[in-house]
Symmetry: C2
Subunit: 192 residues, 2 copies
DNA sequence: TAAGAATTGTCCCAAATGAGACAAAAGGCG
DNA sequence: CGCCTTTTGTCTCATTTGGGACAATTCTTA
């Protein structure tokens, strides 16, 4: 994202709007925000907002898409050599964009975005995910419709897990420890 | 400062440049900075920098002048009712602009700015300062040239005190206390 | 429900900015 | 010192933005 050729003003406008959005989600929640409010905080005119984005949903999507794009690049690098570490990288990513996801998924976030994230996660899994199997992959045969259904299921689980992790993280933050969520994923299916 | 009528773009450019300047002073020191570096950090073109400021010294001066202007307003309010509290307000001001003064006066600051600040302080004292006297004002007669000389002396003392305070504050900051500098100023002069 | 207020999304034009080039000055460095 | 690089300060022109107005829509709240 943020193509290198783009005008500095455009990049600056984007940056300011994104920072303002995250600040304001933290303060008042995503649903309560107006375009005027976001623009004002960003010190950008409302007209400029609409020139760059369709609405506040579009703004969130672009922020999220950029984050996901970065994640995909990182994942692609890792898969070449250490496929099992893909999910480690994934959670490192969540930790890196801590503030973003906490704002978007936490109490001040919005159901709309949760759905949006599940969808993107499902796509990510379909493209890059070999769902880890149990002890022996042949013991529990994978259902025929697995490729259609499992990604949705797993993505829902992941988003839920991330949400929980971020919320806990906030609560536990005062204790100054590093928090780890180790999620062993046994997603096989008992065929009839 | 920042007149209400001014264009939003102008105010934004100023804000971004000011923030960038303070960040960079903290990182690399004022003297080492170039206009290009400041502009880049602020995401503002170098041309825009020169349209708004003469050079980096002008930028610092405007930041400082704005801070002083705010201080003078506050001082003027207080003098009407509680003259003795003027200096309390003064140090509250320093605490409020903590980051600014720490950057400008600290190790990463610049001798140029220290001189600049002494001068402004001296002016401030000439206008608003009745230098507090000792137990009885008549015991120690004030020298004839006091009005010319004392402000300079006192301003130097103040700047030095502030510098010391800010540097100590950084060191002591980990202890999470509030720090107070109580400066009893016995600026009288023994006439021959 | 109905009137009033706020927000949305779009438009135009003046104003500020970004990109880039330029000569002049200032700084390194052998 | 003399060469080379960086920085300065200024300039033009294309591009983006800000301000403000507008009807249409959504939200309040009486």
């Amino acid at each position: 994202m943020t193509q290198p050729g783009k005008n500095l003003r455009v990049k600056r406008t984007h940056k300011l709007l994104r920072e303002a959005l995250i600040e304001l989600i933290e303060e008042r929640g995503f649903d309560a925000l107006t375009v005027g409010e976001i623009s004002e905080r960003a010190m950008v005119s409302r007209a400029a907002f609409y020139r760059n984005y369709q609405d506040k949903y579009d703004l969130v999507e672009q922020i999220f898409d950029e984050a996901m794009s970065n994640l995909l690049d990182a994942v692609a690098d890792i898969r070449r050599e250490h496929p099992p570490q893909v999910w480690v990288k994934f959670f490192e990513h969540i930790a890196e964009y801590d503030r973003l996801y906490r704002a978007l998924l936490g109490r001040k976030g919005s159901p709309w975005f949760v759905m949006r994230m599940r969808a993107s996660m499902a796509e990510l899994i379909k493209k890059h995910g070999r769902i880890p199997n149990g002890p022996k992959s042949t013991d529990h045969p994978v259902a025929p419709f697995a490729d259609e259904f499992l990604p949705d299921l797993v993505s829902t689980m992941f988003v839920e897990a991330i949400t929980w992790w971020l919320e806990q993280g906030r609560t536990l933050h005062a204790q100054r420890g590093r928090h780890t969520l180790r999620l062993t994923c046994l997603c096989t299916f008992q065929g009839s």
